[in-house]
Symmetry: C2
């Protein structure tokens, strides 16, 4: 059922009854039968709210029209937002106070009812149902409570995978390689057939750095064996056992918050303040002017300037004995404000790494998993020579990194930790990738992304004082607002209208919907946001 269509209690009950694998719905139905009068009264109130909400959305004049849904649809999804209180509501506020007694809870937006959350909709503890365009900081691949994943959990033969977490590096389960092939290797970037799993994005980048340092040192060593001096000095953190290598990163980049990664993260001061760091080189990331077609020459110059600086830094740091062993970059700088560069920029950067013998590490923690319309955002670049290392996490459910054969550690226990990821995440990822392939979700991301981007450009044309620099690839879209106060206000209003948005950089709003975000969700959002902009003071 699409937003704006008429519907009644019978439809709703039918919808609940036919939702596959959702126990909570069935429980709700039983509850309805048992306590029918009270429940129907409550239900009717909800429906009224929802209809009011929807009718208000579709009432005013100049607006985008919701299109017909695609054939392949998300039958476990809700029909639209349903708001009962402001957000955070009273129950969320109560829980925040409780949690704040245990840990700093100032970052909490609201508390969620994940059992009731489905598809593109996040339900909070006050019963508000919101279209979620942020999807847990871009980490939910195929929506909440996807029936395929719910089924996976219900299969008795899978229980053991969740209960018995192994030390994967020494005692892997029988199907470990098979699951890696079914999941990660089936979507591996071209040329990268080696893969390690890790527990999170930071660990993925940290271990990718380590693989790069080992690779570089082996190159330097030639065929010589490790010296006694190296073995002894590494134990006390000193040269030559611990060489003074560095990783070159870009201003505005975000690569994680553990101390190695953090030395390459430069998006916000709050991430870095008070934490000791390494003297590693930091290059400028291009600051493109929009619309791109109007600033072709300026943007080319800007990219050339940044690339030149990269080469200068490599030379400068080699001179001061802090050799650049690798360069890390995001295909789109996400936390730093959704900063894009041209495909050509990245191809040239790849050339520079080859020229200077540095590894090229592409951080796809946020961009990977299909949201740009390709499984990996860097596949848009058309590289001749693949990246050396590609890290992932978030929507991939497990962290880890792909790498070329030559980056394989030359002995056991060099890239190692107790868990090395979690087979239960590999199991779920294999199913997620099945769903992505079966439902053609990469093409969906391209298609829905076009609808979203076109709508944003339209809004930008109508509200240029509020929206600028509209940009995106697939559903990985964003725009700038005049300042962070306006940005935060827009996010707060949208939330109270039933849309969860995320900010990034100092004034941007980023879109990070799940892969089952469809055209009609884009239109639903655009209609709501159009009203917000029209009323904005």
């Amino acid at each position: 059922m699409r937003p704006g269509a008429s519907f009644g209690t019978a439809d709703l009950l039918h919808g609940l009854r036919t939702s596959p694998g959702i126990r909570c719905s069935l429980q709700f139905e039983v509850f309805l039968v048992k306590e029918s009068k009270m429940a129907l009264m409550l239900l009717s109130r909800q429906l009224t709210c929802s209809l009011q909400q929807n009718s208000r959305l579709f009432a005013c004049g100049h607006r985008l029209i919701s299109q017909t849904a695609a054939k392949i649809d998300v039958d476990f999804d809700y029909d639209g937002p349903l708001m009962k209180t402001e957000v955070p509501g009273p129950r969320s506020r109560e829980l925040m106070k409780q949690l704040n007694g245990i840990q700093n809870a100032e970052a909490v937006h609201f508390f969620c009812n994940y059992q009731e959350s489905r598809g593109n909709y996040l339900v909070d503890v006050d019963g508000n149902r919101m279209l979620d365009l942020y999807s847990q900081i871009s980490s939910i691949p195929i929506g909440y409570s996807h029936p395929s994943l719910m089924k996976l959990l219900q299969q008795p033969q899978n229980l053991s995978t969740f209960v018995n977490r192994p030390a994967l590096g020494i005692l892997p389960p029988e199907n470990f390689a098979e699951k890696l092939k079914e999941s990660l290797l089936s979507v591996a970037p071209k040329g990268l057939q080696q893969v390690m799993t890790m527990s999170c994005g930071s660990c993925s980048n940290e271990n990718a750095f380590k693989a790069i340092f080992m690779w570089y040192r082996n190159k330097e060593r030639g065929n010589n064996n490790v010296t006694k001096e190296e073995l002894e000095t590494c134990m006390i953190n000193q040269y030559p056992g611990c060489p003074d290598y560095s990783i070159l990163s870009f201003m505005g980049g975000f690569h994680g918050r553990t101390m190695g990664c953090l030395a390459t993260t430069h998006s916000k001061a709050i991430h870095k303040l008070d934490i000791p760091s390494f003297d590693w080189p930091i290059a400028p990331f291009p600051r493109l002017k929009y619309p791109l077609e109007e600033f072709v020459k300026e943007n080319q110059q800007e990219e050339a300037r940044c690339l030149e600086e990269v080469e200068d830094l490599i030379v400068k740091y080699r001179k001061k004995k802090r050799i650049v062993a690798g360069i890390i970059i995001e295909p789109i700088q996400s936390e730093g404000g959704d900063n894009h560069a041209s495909d050509k920029f990245f191809r040239k950067l790849r050339d520079i790494t080859r020229k200077h013998g540095c590894a090229f590490l592409v951080d796809e923690v946020q961009t990977g998993g299909g949201c740009t319309g390709k499984f990996w955002a860097h596949e848009h670049w058309g590289l001749d020579d693949p990246a050396d290392v590609v890290t992932f996490s978030k929507k991939m459910m497990t962290g880890g990194f792909f790498h070329k054969e030559e980056f394989r550690p030359n002995g056991p226990y060099r890239i190692f930790n107790t868990w090395l990821g979690d087979p239960s995440k590999n199991l779920m990822l294999a199913e997620v990738i099945n769903v992505i392939k079966r439902e053609d979700l990469l093409n969906n991301a391209t298609h829905a992304g076009k609808a979203l981007l076109a709508g944003l450009l339209d809004l930008q044309a109508r509200y240029p004082h509020l929206i600028s620099r509209v940009r995106g690839r697939g559903t990985f879209c964003s725009f700038d607002t005049p300042d962070d106060t306006t940005r935060n206000k827009l996010i707060a209003i949208a939330r109270n209208k039933g849309v969860v948005l995320g900010g990034c950089g100092d004034r941007s709003i980023r879109f990070r919907p799940t892969l089952i975000f469809k055209d009609h969700h884009a239109h639903l959002f655009l209609n709501i946001f159009s009203d917000i902009l029209a009323d904005f003071k």
Copy 2:
């Protein structure tokens, strides 16, 4: 049923039928009914092997006698090891080759059948069943396929927790604080009522370091606000935004493998070689002589020497502007060789940290969770003033750290990442802690540990050329062998006799059984190991 008791097919079938929550057994039973002849033939062969194994164990003269089992027993446990092939067997070797095509698989011991693994027994893909005294590098709290955890997974209301992984720092589930209270806070070290969850041990230590650096900087700052210069310089990894603070660690310590942790890890060269590091102070850890009662004075002097060195390093590093903000230590250095120090040593170290204004960070990643007979190993010390920060992971199923109120970050997003742990792990931990309390597993660890230690001391008396420095607390026991070749050979032989052991340091064997390891498991192991030592050439 105890090892050595007589038993038949009917008993085994009954045992399988009554195992609660183990689907694989039921499947096996169906298989038996369907293919009864073939199955009974196979079964009978297995039983014969098992009986041979057991009768051999209990045949020879001078040996420890298996005791009667305690009342509280592990009814889902197997009766003893059952070996069919050498380990790794043919199927494991085939899978190793397969995995080695994807990643360096040289560290793999063998491949496991986790569905068939239960209690203290790990079953491999060749059908070998081994008593597991290593428990996935000390990370399985209450044995394999524990019925309580299997049930938890089968409850429909829990499915969502496994399928919908939230960004805990911004959108926690309704029961987040409640689960933390039920689990982690119900066993919090005295005086530490604040807790953060993380995904693994390394992330726990990394974030504990960060909390310590922030705390120290705030102390230095007094009531002054953060300066513009700090905000700007931290973005480019420079002072004063990134101060030159350090964490003092001990030679032989292991605190993880990401770059911050790795700067405090000094157990083996292979962990550190080729990775850039920080110039942070490293103090000697006491090298105690055994038996302790014979070397009281020498050991006191050794501990005094180490403590003196700690103070000297604090002063020296302050002078060279690398202020020691905190000291990290394991209650028992695990990876480094199971090195113990006296409770008094740790109390004095705590005094030193207070005197010099450094934070005292106790790394309980391997020692925590009950195996020493107290929930946290440092609770044995009898500290007047609690530790400032205590990190955990492994048997706690989630990583994280407890800390005093004053180490709470003074703003949102300072200690933060996308996942901040995983509520599905908190859910399982809450159940694990229920089981620990219900089944009095801390007392069990003390009791079973005594049986194990007494047996090891007996073996040391009989085989002093093979076993020395027997030591332990609870089941967290270990001994030294003459050299790493002997150690590795003993581990390999034990494995082929049905016992999984782990090494640590350069020549030690460590015991890391689960918390449901009972006296009779200790005796079973001691019997097998006694034979191995008698035959050892």
